[in-house]
């Protein structure tokens, strides 16, 4: 059984993830040499990309829009902060682990309740919960440092003491470390969205009634997606705090949640790679816009323009360039390559 079909390689093939990672790997030394100052922005882009990737399993694949994922950015950041302040931990790997575990625990605690709601109810409920945590970081200032936050000096990476590295080497190592994490987490996410779980999540998003009718447990599937996204965003939260060298309540504020939503839609939530592209480009646009007084106005105008002109996100430009391809394929190969989702 061989069939000739028109496929969209951008969605079908994991190779485009490799290409993006390769481009990002090559870009850093160039940016570092010729665009001083922007290298930090690029590192931020990578970290936010991890967050947006996790966010999109919930939004793009499962159809649950959360306005409160800064909750997990905050948890990841404060996990790192508390580990340093109270346990004297100085290793990046442990921060990341701590961020992931803290997010997972809280997500488990609230998840089984929140995933019973959908659409605007889920979005607002998440916003409210995230704001509660944000206010706790302020109120319990003797633990959290209040608005001053907790300073996080450069931690050891892969057991290499941070003191033994000069600033530039450390920046390089941190960048490639984050990029490697993006690659690993991206690969795992790719496997997940193309597995039975991915199909089930998309089925739930698509037609909830029929999905439950063929025997899927809707709330359980939504919970899986919720936990997964929490872990990804938690990891990004730890990295973000380390890169900023401080964790303040602002990282857990609703504007951070909005940022994740913004970059995902900017890149294209209907595509696996959309959030990654969106996150990186968003950080550059934001840095440029922030030089002006009314930078939020600029950002707002940009998202309106993008939704009007490119409703599928920035990635649709790349899609147009690559185009659709006619390929001969067998269903078996098809599953190994992954499914389409538009």
């Amino acid at each position: 059984m061989v069939i000739v079909i028109k496929r969209n390689p951008l969605i079908e093939e994991i190779s485009y993830l490799y290409i993006i990672i390769a481009i990002l790997a090559l870009a850093y030394p160039l940016v570092f040499s010729f665009l001083r100052g922007w290298d930090t922005i690029l590192t931020y882009g990578i970290i936010w990309a991890i967050a947006a990737l996790g966010f999109n399993i919930l939004y793009g694949y499962t159809g649950l829009l959360s306005f409160g994922h800064a909750l997990f950015l905050g948890l990841g950041g404060y996990a790192a902060g508390f580990m340093l302040k109270y346990l004297g931990v100085r290793d990046l790997e442990l921060y990341i682990l701590g961020g992931a575990v803290a997010s997972l625990v809280i997500a488990l605690a609230i998840g089984s309740v929140v995933v019973r709601y959908t659409r605007i109810f889920f979005a607002i409920l998440m916003l409210a919960i995230a704001q509660v945590f944000w206010s706790l970081y302020y109120k319990f200032y003797w633990i959290t440092g209040g608005s001053d936050g907790i300073k996080i000096p450069r931690p050891n990476i892969l057991g290499i003491p941070s003191g033994s590295l000069d600033a530039i080497t450390y920046q390089y190592i941190f960048y490639y470390y984050s990029l490697a994490l993006l690659f690993i987490l991206g690969y795992i996410m790719w496997r997940i969205v193309n597995s039975p779980l991915g199909i089930a999540l998309r089925a739930v998003k698509d037609n909830e009634t029929r999905a439950s009718f063929i025997g899927f447990s809707i709330t359980k599937l939504r919970l899986y997606a919720f936990l997964l996204s929490a872990v990804y965003v938690g990891i990004a939260g730890s990295l973000l705090a380390v890169h900023s060298r401080i964790i303040t309540p602002e990282q857990a504020f609703w504007t951070s949640s909005g940022k994740i939503v913004f970059m995902t839609i900017l890149g294209g939530s209907g595509y696996f790679l959309g959030p990654i592209i969106g996150a990186i480009i968003y950080n550059f646009i934001e840095s440029i816009a922030m030089k002006y007084v009314y930078w939020q106005l600029i950002m707002g105008s940009i998202i309106i323009a993008i939704i009007a002109v490119m409703p599928k996100g920035l990635i649709s430009v790349i899609e147009k360039i690559i185009g659709y391809r006619e390929i001969k394929i067998q269903p078996k190969q098809y599953m190994q390559k992954g499914g389409d989702r538009s």
Binding site: M1, I3, I5, R7, I188, R191, I192, N194, S195, P196, L197, G198, I199, A200, R202, A203, K205, D206, N207, T209, R210, A211, S212, F213, I214, G215, F216, K220, L221, I329, P331, K332, Y334, M335, G339, D340, R341, S342
Partner: protein, 255 residues
């Protein structure tokens, strides 16, 4: 099916009223393993109510439903699906953003409980994929497996809808007007396909159908319903000769 195969489904005096309307007024019949019946009757005869009662979407006021020797009258729709009673609806309900192939696969994933293990992204699902291919071939949709449902003809969408239900491997498949909204030419081929598949796999079937040409051409046993009661239950020849059926059914439709 042969008359000595065991009874799969038994309805005992099912009754259901909506206000003053008696939608089911003492319906009783038996269905053997692998047997197929077609239910006909004028609008409001209680056909869909009957299917709703068997699939668990409606609870009858009285009477009982015995499936495989177990009283399922009080079981939930999902429990009944797990026991092997699967139905389709009058309107096509498939996953429009999943390919034809993935639509089938979704059913198989659910039936095989492939999501139970947390390491699901890394388990081998070769069996499920092979089975999805088999089912698509069975329904003649194999050449369309990578299209999206909205790219299919209405007839193929109907078939896909039935295939998604069939992929749950039911003992009893109930189809509510599987050919509604389909061109006459396609009706016969869809019906032939459905009966062929049910025969081949030994699945019992309850089909609601309006088109008399289709009914008499493909059915072996016909149950005529009228005002919530079973009027006649027999083979097509009997039904054709029955005067009251002529009056009620043909009169209404062809008058």
């Amino acid at each position: 099916m042969s008359s000595d195969s065991p009874v799969l489904l038994e309805l005992r005096d099912l009754r259901k009223s909506f206000g003053n309307v008696r939608a089911l007024d003492g319906v009783s019949f038996r269905l053997r393993k692998g047997e197929k019946i077609t239910i006909i009757g004028p609008n409001g005869a209680g056909k869909t109510t009957l299917v709703n009662a068997i699939s668990g979407y409606l609870r009858p006021d009285s009477g009982s439903i015995i499936f495989n020797g177990i009283d399922i009258t009080r079981k939930s729709p999902v429990e009944r699906v797990k026991m092997g009673i699967v139905r389709s609806f009058q309107l096509v309900s498939v996953f429009n953003n999943l390919t034809v192939f993935e639509n089938i696969l979704a059913s198989i994933i659910s039936r095989k409980d492939l999501l139970r293990k947390p390491i699901t992204p890394f388990i081998n699902i070769e069996d499920a994929i092979n089975e999805a291919e088999e089912i698509l071939t069975l329904f003649g949709l194999d050449s369309k497996s990578h299209l999206y449902p909205l790219d299919l003809s209405q007839g193929d969408r109907k078939l896909l809808d039935i295939a998604v239900a069939f992929a749950l491997r039911p003992f009893l498949l109930m189809l509510d007007e599987p050919t509604s909204g389909v061109a006459t030419k396609e009706k016969h081929s869809i019906m032939a396909k459905i009966y062929e598949i049910l025969d081949k796999t030994g699945t019992a079937g309850i089909v609601i159908e309006h088109d008399m040409d289709v009914v008499f051409k493909h059915s072996k046993r016909i149950v005529v319903m009228h005002q919530g009661k079973v009027l006649v239950d027999g083979d097509p020849e009997e039904i054709r000769k029955n005067d009251s059926v002529k009056q009620i059914l043909m009169g209404e439709i062809y008058a």
